[in-house]
């Protein structure tokens, strides 16, 4: 039960009255089954846009995007929690479960289990408005985990959490991934988090939104936060982030790719430099 994502020369422009944004510029990327991929990059570089396309919410792009299998089960943890305000925490989780054909009591039990998993036991009957921001985000996390999808899209899921809770959530996410791996596409601004969690980290740059680095994290699991190799990867990623955030766009060095080329998914920045 897993999914493959293929972005082939995907471009996305947003035209509004005042601006014309090139949110994605010919992005080519393959996400292999069971791969845990982190997506990092400056604000506005098109990370959420990429996720929206992967979720099937945004169809206004050019190029091709394919999901295999086409009807793969998806769950999306949005950048904002997007809970139904009139439903309690538990009812929010069981809403998506029941909509997928689970029985009432079964949905209820599953919802409670996942709420407990994210540390919200005892809050099942609270309405979102009466929860803290971090708690709302964790309800949304429980909702995404509960549907047990083939493809998990996560947009900065832990950014609203304090570090201790975030640490625990990362542990839970990895445990779940360990027991039942799935394809994960995970957006974050936290490089340490990206290196600790992911098999592979994609670095994006903005104006236009594009991929500038693709780094495989070759550190065996379970990983240790203190691992020096993780720190090394982090330094490398931060270098390519800063390097490509120069507003002039005069960078000439080819993008660091940390592994031997693995098929068509291996995107470097070279192709894009020609257009700058």
């Amino acid at each position: 039960m897993s999914a493959t994502l293929r972005f082939d020369e995907v471009s996305r422009r947003f035209r509004t009255k005042t601006r014309n944004v090139h949110a994605l510029d010919r992005v080519t990327l393959e996400i292999r089954p069971l791969e845990f991929t982190a997506l990092v990059g400056p604000s506005g570089c098109g990370k959420s846009t990429l996720l929206n396309i992967a979720a099937g919410l945004d169809t206004g792009y050019e190029g091709t995007f394919t999901l295999e299998p086409a009807d793969a089960d998806r769950a999306y943890l949005f950048q904002s929690h997007r809970l139904l305000p009139w439903r309690t925490a538990q009812a929010n989780v069981s809403f998506v479960l029941e909509a997928r054909g689970l029985g009432r009591s079964e949905a209820r039990a599953t919802a409670r289990r996942y709420l407990a998993l994210v540390g919200l036991a005892g809050c099942e009957d609270q309405f979102p408005a009466h929860l803290s921001g971090g708690m709302r985000q964790r309800v949304a996390l429980a909702r995404a985990l509960a549907v047990d999808p083939a493809l998990m899209l996560m947009d900065e899921p832990f950014s609203a959490l304090d570090e201790i809770t975030a640490q625990r959530m990362r542990g839970e996410l990895l445990d779940i991934h360990e027991i039942e791996p799935r394809t994960v596409l995970f957006v974050t601004h936290n490089l340490a988090e990206a290196c600790y969690l992911a098999d592979r980290v994609i670095v994006m740059a903005s104006n236009p939104g594009r991929i500038v680095a693709d780094v495989t994290i070759e550190v065996p699991r379970p990983r240790d936060h203190e691992d020096l190799r993780l720190a090394e990867y982090q330094r490398e990623l931060s270098h390519s982030l800063f390097h490509h955030s120069s507003p002039t766009g005069t960078q000439t060095a080819p993008t660091t790719t940390d592994q031997p080329a693995t098929g068509p998914s291996d995107t470097t920045g070279d192709t894009h430099h020609a257009t700058l």
Binding site: A75, Y76, S80, A99, S132, R136, D162, T165
Partner: protein
């Protein structure tokens, strides 16, 4: 008399029907969550305690007493022929009950209000939702609502009586037409507060269209439809008195006009006060608690 245009302007948004679902605020910025927010005992809304309820009832009672005291003082100043004393009015209500017409008046008026309100609300929901969903409908008919709201109430009532005849059907249609533009406008505006992000969420989780409409869109419309209904009911009751005065020979409005023609202030008040009390009871004892319960998920309802 008040035209509906005034009504739109002054009573446009009771309780802010277009404020949309609460809790749609984005998550708090990073680091703002307390480190030990797993402890949630004190997080929800605490139920109102008995002493809090008593205190609130006490204030309500005090404000009612003050109102009656003011009435008494004013009537002593201006004389009881101009403004009867509270006690005289109660006596007059007693007389009206004895004469036997009070209950039947109220029943007849209540039926007309219910009919006009139901007609206006169902039409307003149809029109308001259509205008809110369809850009074409907005372009073609959006202005009609404004035009309809600017027509004086009197015209609607007179036209209804002229076309349908001097009967209850005309009274109900006339009353409904007067309040229709205002409620339609409120529901239409409320439709703008529907959150497209929630529909997206539903779609991203593979929820089918029918379930999305029933469980994601419909619940978002309830708060402003409820608010529009409350406003509509209040408007209908006020306009129905006028409708009866113009063309019916029964009901509270007719009775007010009858005693007005005899310049009997006492009996005018005796006709009006019982029905005002009924409408207030409906508002305080039914609609407000119902609204508080239905929309208890809103942040502001917690206090």
């Amino acid at each position: 008399m008040t035209s509906t245009t005034d009504a739109t302007a002054t009573t446009g948004r009771p309780g802010g029907p277009s404020t949309g679902p609460a809790g749609a605020t984005p998550g708090t910025p990073p680091g703002s969550a307390p480190p030990d927010d797993i402890d949630t005992e004190q997080v929800g809304m605490p139920p109102r305690t008995l002493s809090e309820r008593l205190a609130s009832a006490g204030w309500t009672a005090l404000s009612a007493v003050l109102l009656i005291a003011l009435w008494q003082v004013v009537s002593m100043r201006v004389g009881s022929t101009v403004l009867p004393r509270p006690i005289q009015s109660i006596g007059a209500i007693g007389d009206a009950i004895e004469a036997g017409y009070l209950w039947s008046d109220m029943r007849i008026t209540a039926v007309r209000i219910a009919g006009a309100f139901a007609l206006a609300l169902s039409l307003a929901i149809t029109f308001g939702v259509t205008l809110g969903m369809s850009k074409l409908a907005t372009k073609l008919f959006g202005n009609w609502v404004t035009i309809a709201a600017s027509i004086p109430s009197l015209l609607y009532i007179v036209i209804a009586y002229l076309w349908v005849g001097l009967n209850d059907r005309a009274a109900i249609i006339g009353g409904a037409l007067v309040v229709l533009p205002t409620i339609t406008f409120n529901i239409w505006q409320g439709m703008k507060s529907l959150d497209p992000e929630l529909s997206e969420m539903s779609r991203a989780f593979g929820v089918n269209r029918r379930t999305t409409i029933a469980k994601v869109l419909l619940p978002q419309t309830l708060p402003f439809i409820f608010a529009a209904s409350r406003l509509g009911l209040a408007l209908t009751w006020k306009i129905m008195i006028f409708v009866e005065l113009l063309g019916r020979s029964s009901g509270v409005g007719y009775r007010i006009q009858y005693w007005y023609n005899l310049f009997n202030m006492e009996r005018v008040l005796a006709a009006a006060i019982p029905f005002i009390l009924v409408m207030l009871t409906l508002e305080f004892a039914v609609l407000r608690p119902l609204e508080r319960h239905l929309f208890r998920w809103k942040r502001e309802e917690s206090r």
